[in-house]
């Protein structure tokens, strides 16, 4: 893998820092007039999502990380791993562990296309589509006549996710959800 010097650090560059794949968020050149030049760098640890701040002497190098974000179709969960397949026509399949799937698991529906980040050919994170359509598995009975405003109630979706929905929503209905906020958007009609 290539190495990169501090002057090549750009937002989005994927590098290996303390054994973890990271994406560079920000690189600030810091130099006292009569002193040593430094790079103050913010990284996102792609394993944990945490932001790390580190300072390097100008000219230091770090190793690049073989990180690739790619679209994959979610296939199924075998109880331990979540299985995905590339959408580029190769039908190549990958299995992702719970740590990589993280909170995305509650939005995963078979055949939906997710963005999967691969590090050394293994999935390390999964981002679901911004919007998913999921069926209501359980909720209190709907209250007719109150369709426009006022109040909400919890509903459990087919994937196990629990979200707030308007009072008129019934079991069996399909809802459109924004996965970035976990919020109900609308009912989906056939």
């Amino acid at each position: 893998m290539a190495t990169y010097a501090t002057n090549e650090f750009r937002p989005g560059l994927k590098v290996l820092l303390e054994g973890s794949p990271c994406s560079i968020l920000e690189n600030e050149f810091v130099k006292p007039g009569k002193g040593q030049a430094f790079s103050r760098v913010k990284f996102r640890n792609l394993n944990t999502g945490r932001v790390w701040e580190r300072t390097f002497r100008s000219g230091e190098t770090i190793e690049g990380a073989d990180v690739l974000e790619t679209d994959m179709e979610y296939l199924y969960n075998d109880g331990e791993f979540w299985h995905f397949m590339k959408t580029d026509g190769s039908y190549e399949q990958f299995e992702a562990a719970a740590a990589a799937v993280g909170d995305a698991r509650q939005w995963l529906k078979e055949q939906d296309v997710c963005s999967v980040t691969l590090w050394n050919d293994s999935p390390i994170s999964v981002v679901p589509p911004n919007f998913v359509e999921l069926q209501v598995a359980e909720t209190d009975p709907g209250m007719r006549g109150d369709t426009a405003q006022g109040g909400n109630k919890p509903a459990t979706l087919s994937t196990g996710a629990v979200i707030k929905v308007p009072l008129f929503i019934e079991i069996g209905e399909v809802l459109r959800i924004d996965t970035r906020t976990g919020e109900y958007v609308s009912r989906v009609r056939d």
Partner: protein, 312 residues
């Protein structure tokens, strides 16, 4: 990025007016005090030996990183107090608060010491920005307050521990001066808003300031003005002793050689001028673009440059 796409200036047209007004105010400030404006060469046969400053070489000469050497030669030849506004160049210094070419205001005051010059810096900054209080904090105290450490007695390991806590990653053992640079930058950044003079630098960071050996703790008569965490000016009660100047040049040359940097020849003309006699004076260099950026409240200096490095 395509060059056809980024032809417009880095700054707004109104900013050109603000810059011109600040330049006019600066010239009026010095005219009122009887300080003479001078112009010295930008491209010259010698340059600084400071190991932390890289010059840009052009056609066997060097773009000047500061007008210091030429201005001191003028003073040695009998010039009165002088100032200069002009472009200076530093290889590889590019970032939010850096541009490899920038506008420097540098001035020298006969018979001033560092304290008296700091007062004048305050007056100029108050005139260009707006009046505000200034703190004076000795270098050692700044680090002691922030890191609870006495840099004169601290071991290299103590300093390395602090740097590690600051998130410092170095592949090779870091040097003491490097650790101190990093700690100072962090201490200043953490202070946030406000105007601070850092004074009484350790003698090994004297650059071309004279060293005061008379007090219990020797220190360089050097100061830096930092505003809202941004270094604005660096000043000295100027070293006059030609033998000490020759020693410091030799030491810098040795450091450059040891670090594998290019080693320009020492400027014999500066040495000769100081042998002839540099009058008692204090001098300061101020980053004009940075001051303008603080005045206009921009996040960095690009928005106050007509064309920044990427568009030049």
């Amino acid at each position: 990025m395509s060059e056809a796409h980024d032809w417009p200036p880095s700054c707004a047209i109104e900013t050109l007016h603000a810059r011109a007004a600040a330049l006019a105010a600066t010239r009026a400030f010095f005219a009122e005090r009887g300080v003479l404006e001078v112009n010295t060469p930008v491209l010259a046969s010698h340059t600084v030996l400071d190991p932390a400053i890289e010059s840009i070489a052009v056609g066997g000469r060097y773009l000047q990183t500061s007008p210091e050497y030429h201005m001191k030669r003028l003073l040695a030849a009998g010039a009165p107090s002088i100032y200069q506004l002009g472009p200076v160049f530093r290889q590889g210094e590019q970032g939010r608060w850096h541009n490899p070419e920038f506008l420097m205001l540098e001035w020298y005051r006969l018979d001033f010491d560092a304290n008296r010059l700091m007062l004048e810096v305050e007056e100029l900054v108050d005139c260009l920005l707006s009046p505000a209080p200034y703190l004076c904090i000795p270098y050692r105290q700044l680090l002691a307050d922030r890191f609870d450490i006495d840099i004169d007695t601290a071991s290299v390991d103590d300093l390395a521990d602090i740097c590690a806590q600051l998130g410092y990653k170095a592949s090779s053992t870091s040097r003491t001066e490097e650790a101190l640079d990093l700690m100072l930058a962090a201490a200043l950044a953490d202070r946030g808003e406000g105007r601070v003079f850092v004074t009484e630098y350790p003698p090994d960071q004297a650059a071309l300031a004279r060293v005061n050996a008379s007090k219990r703790r020797p220190h360089a008569e050097r100061f830096e003005l930092v505003i809202n965490g941004v270094e604005i000016a660096n000043g000295y009660h100027e070293l006059a002793d030609p033998d000490e100047l020759a020693q410091r040049m030799a030491a810098d040359t040795e450091k450059r050689r040891a670090s594998g940097l290019c080693v320009p020849k020492p400027d014999e003309r500066l040495l000769a001028a100081q042998r002839h006699g540099l009058p008692n004076c204090a001098g300061v260099a101020l980053g004009f673009d940075r001051l303008l950026a603080l005045k206009l409240g921009t996040d960095g200096i690009s928005p106050v440059l007509a064309f920044d490095w990427n568009r030049a």
